[in-house]
């Protein structure tokens, strides 16, 4: 879905945003709640400049009033694959953004992300996966790596991977797999998204074990939750 259509559908005229260098920044209102918006558009690869811009937007909001609502809209083709991006320390830029999002949450911000396009690789780790809850539209494309590339790297025949991916959520692309693994709370219609967020904001933020517990209930990751509790209580 194009971000213009999505935002129009979500907020109608109650929105003010800009898009520059594939970074979306703005403010909007719904049902008497104010929302700060940020995100990545047009399946852009997340680079140093973009990460910094997102981080600064959030830092400024924290400085203004740490109790704010933040929606992170995700449509990214992954991390910028370029030598110069890495030369200047792309991992530090990603980590900075991650720290800023988590810091905002610790200071009382309510942070949610919505995958409305693609969410690939390291860019998902840098942005969307740091929200307290992650939602996805049905058309979302979520993957660490496409199966063809995975087959080339692991030298496991593609047919074998395709067959296994029918029964296992653990490696194959697809938003449904990330639901089973506990990280996507639910696949949601645009019309239901903001009412869901309003309801989430009405309750407490989930615990640090939220994804693992969901994964356990949904059967996508059966060991993660048990291992973490076992180690903590050792």
């Amino acid at each position: 879905m194009k971000y213009q259509d999505l935002l129009q559908q979500l907020f109608g005229n109650e929105i003010n945003y800009s898009v520059d260098n594939n970074v979306l920044l703005g403010d909007a209102a719904f049902d008497n709640q104010q929302f700060s918006l940020c995100g990545i558009v047009d399946a852009a690869q997340l680079d140093n400049v973009m990460s910094l811009k997102l981080a600064k937007f959030i830092l400024d909001k924290v400085n203004l009033d740490p109790k704010f609502n933040l929606l992170i809209f995700i449509d990214t083709g992954g991390q910028k694959t370029s030598r110069q991006a890495e030369l200047l320390g792309l991992n530090r830029y990603f980590a900075h953004l991650i720290k800023v999002i988590h810091y905002a949450r610790a200071k009382g911000a309510r942070v949610f992300s919505l995958v409305y396009g693609s969410a690939l690789g390291g860019a998902f780790i840098a942005a969307g996966l740091n929200a307290e809850k992650v939602y996805a539209l049905a058309e979302a494309q979520i993957a660490v790596m496409w199966l063809e590339a995975m087959s080339r790297v692991t030298k496991i025949p593609l047919v074998r991977l395709e067959e296994l991916s029918k029964s296992s959520a653990i490696f194959a692309p697809g938003a449904e797999n990330f639901v089973k693994l506990g990280v996507i709370d639910k696949i949601i219609d645009p019309a239901a998204f903001l009412p869901q967020i309003i309801s989430d904001i009405g309750g407490a933020a989930p615990s640090i074990n939220h994804w693992r517990e969901l994964a356990d209930v949904r059967g996508g990751r059966t060991l993660a939750n048990k291992i973490v509790s076992q180690v903590i209580n050792d």
């Binding site: 140093n48 400049v49 910094l52 981080a55 830092l59 400085n63 694959t81 030598r83 110069q84 890495e86 030369l87 200047l88 320390g89 792309l90 991992n91 530090r92 990603f94 980590a95 900075h96 991650i98 720290k99 800023v100 810091y103 610790a106 690789g121 390291g122 780790i125 840098a126 996966l129 740091n130 660490v144 790596m145 995975m150 790297v153 692991t154 496991i156 296994l164 296992s168 653990i170 490696f171 194959a172 797999n177 990330f178 693994l181 506990g182 990280v183 640090i208 994804w211 693992r212 990751r221 059966t222 060991l223 993660a224 291992i227 973490v228 509790s229 076992q230 180690v231 903590i232 050792d234």
Partner: protein
């Protein structure tokens, strides 16, 4: 995968140490775990191998070992990844000698960090005899996903975690095993990493230490690995918010790439050596996607100028140490003594530093350009300097 089992009658009991392992699950190698056996008069050996059809050779090698060493009643479990008979014999002998000697600690003071395995690195850095492993190999908590792909498992799933002391202070520590699946993170391995962080938070220890050595997400369980890395980051942030220092060391063979490259920069500090490399996408990935003109991953000098330990320390993303274990430990002690801060001011300072870096380096295409802008004289000579000359230059 093929499973083979052998038992021998044996009434002696010559071994004093159990639950220990030798070797690693890596192409042409194998891991052996020694356990007590529930039968007092039997030596039991179980082999899980990726290379079926060699039962006769296994029978010969195992029988030879049993005859030569008269091992006694116990149980060996082998995870084999195509080791030759000579390697199998060597690993069996190593484990036997370790078990018979009571697994006395080694003196690592003259060792090179790079050459030690994940467990040895911990023992070399912490106070002698202070390391207690949590969820060790004997618990056999392995990846449930690798077997589905006919791949061998390792009993610790490629990461060692536990409690230890450094200069008497209680610390928790995790060490990635670079040799098993490139140290990459999967469901089990990642849960162990998150678990030890959350335990450190609960027990309010003096510090959490990561010995990172990983290519990032384990592709065979890619989704679970990616999620585990995000869960690990969330746990690390909780430690930072609780003012528990989180220190990493990147000085191994695989460096820190992909999600683990990102994790490394979420820590309070990392120590790197000359051989260290860290970034998000590795050189090979960028070359594959963008072409050799963008990044020639076979040009080792270029790779190190782009993501090597010296480059990262000049930019201020890491602290530099020589490769000697004693120097790495000394640097670790210095960092543990420094208070760590994580607040709005430190984030704003970091923002300004990172913004300035982009402004200063708009035209930088090579590490040498970055080093010149950082004000270092004779930047083209930096890769050739000795460690001590380089550290002098950094001051």
């Amino acid at each position: 995968m093929e499973k083979l089992q052998y038992n021998f009658s044996s009434k002696t009991n010559k071994l004093s140490e159990f639950g220990i392992t030798a070797g690693v699950v890596n192409s042409g190698n194998l891991e052996i775990l020694l356990e007590k056996h529930d039968k007092v008069d039997e030596l039991f050996i179980e082999i899980n191998t990726t290379v079926p059809g060699f039962a006769a050779v296994w029978q010969a090698v195992i029988s030879d070992f049993v005859a030569k060493y008269a091992v006694g009643a116990c149980k060996f479990t082998i995870n084999d990844c195509g080791a030759t008979p000579a390697i199998v014999s060597l690993r069996l002998r190593q484990l036997y000698e370790l078990a018979a000697s009571g697994n006395q600690g080694n003196d690592y003071s003259n060792s090179r960090y790079l050459e030690l395995n994940a467990r040895e690195r911990i023992n070399a850095l912490v106070d002698g005899g202070s390391f207690t492993e949590i969820m060790p190999a004997i618990n056999k908590i392995v990846s449930p996903h690798l077997g589905q792909l006919d791949l061998p498992v390792e009993f610790d799933d490629g990461v060692i975690i536990g409690t230890a002391k450094i200069s008497g202070k209680p610390v928790y520590i995790a060490s990635q095993n670079y040799a098993f699946m490139g140290g990459a993170v999967g469901e089990v391995n990642g849960a162990k990493l998150s678990g030890i962080c959350l335990k450190a938070l609960k027990d309010k220890v003096s510090a959490m230490i990561f010995l990172l050595d990983s290519g990032g997400v384990r592709l065979h369980e890619a989704n679970a690995g990616e999620i585990a890395i995000s869960e690990l980051i969330a746990a690390i942030i909780q430690l930072k918010l609780a003012s528990i220092p989180v220190i990493g060391i990147v000085a191994g063979r695989n460096g820190a790439f992909g999600g683990i490259g990102i994790v490394s920069q979420c820590l309070d500090a990392i120590i790197v050596t000359e051989n260290a490399r860290t970034s998000v996408s590795g050189p090979e990935v960028i070359e594959t996607v963008m072409g050799v003109a963008e990044y020639d991953s076979s040009d080792r000098a270029l790779v190190w100028r782009t993501c090597g330990g010296r480059h990262r320390s000049i930019m201020g993303d890491a602290f530099y140490s020589s490769k000697q274990i004693g120097d790495i430990r000394q640097k670790l002690l210095e960092l543990l003594d420094k208070p760590t801060l994580f607040n709005e001011k430190t984030l704003l300072d970091e923002y300004q530093q990172l913004e300035q870096r982009l402004i200063d380096n708009q035209n930088s295409r090579d590490g040498i350009d970055v080093w010149a802008i950082a004000g270092l004289s004779n930047p083209q000579q930096i890769p050739d300097l000795s460690d001590s000359d380089f550290m002098e230059l950094l001051k």
